[in-house]
């Protein structure tokens, strides 16, 4: 397998879709875990308003572990409930 070693800024602005081709948003920033030396989650901007409850909306973070692939877009697992609550802990 070819290792995908890329500059982190390449992620910024990429569209995020679920495996069921639902648009989630765009990558605004990346949270990195300094001690673990890894990307922890993606901060989502330009969020798809139909996915989230505006009431308890505090911004959406996509944990790295639900990411399936990163290429021209970011492909993530389809977890509609998690987008509404912003809680990915049950996955």
């Amino acid at each position: 397998m070819i290792r995908m070693r890329t500059q982190i800024t390449e992620l910024f602005g990429l569209s995020i879709y679920t495996e069921k081709s639902v648009f989630v948003g765009e990558v605004e920033d990346v949270i990195i875990d300094i001690e673990g030396k890894k990307m922890e989650s993606l901060v989502v901007g330009k969020l798809n308003q139909e996915l989230v409850d505006i009431k308890n909306y505090k911004g959406l973070k996509i944990p790295f572990r639900i990411i399936r692939a990163i290429g021209d877009i970011v492909l993530i697992r389809h977890l509609p409930g998690a987008f509404k609550s912003g809680n990915f802990d049950e996955t």
């Binding site: 397998m1 290792r3 995908m4 070693r5 890329t6 500059q7 982190i8 800024t9 910024f12 920033d29 990346v30 949270i31 990195i32 875990d33 300094i34 001690e35 673990g36 030396k37 890894k38 990307m39 922890e40 901060v43 790295f64 990411i67 990163i70």
Partner: protein
């Protein structure tokens, strides 16, 4: 666990644990498959002696293994940062 936003690291100074300024952060190399952070890409200060470091053109590479902490500056281990 220490977390930080990638964008907030832009143009931060890289300093060794003995207090020597290496340069300014340009970018970070990551592995999209594993999520691992591999290297820092740095613009070295003109006064910094880059011998013993990985240099490509005007950029200097330091393994993320060398990073000790990130607050106002990025502190790297002076031995681990060389290769």
């Amino acid at each position: 666990m220490t977390r930080t936003l990638a964008r907030s690291l832009s143009r931060k100074k890289i300093v060794t644990n003995e207090g020597k300024v290496i340069g300014t952060l340009k970018n970070i190399i990551v592995d999209f498959d594993t999520g691992q952070i591999i290297d820092l890409i740095i613009y070295p200060d003109p006064s910094f002696d880059t011998s013993g470091y990985r240099v490509e053109g005007d950029r200097l590479f330091i393994t993320f293994e060398a990073v000790k902490d990130i607050k106002d500056y990025i502190i790297v281990d002076r031995y681990l940062s060389r290769k």
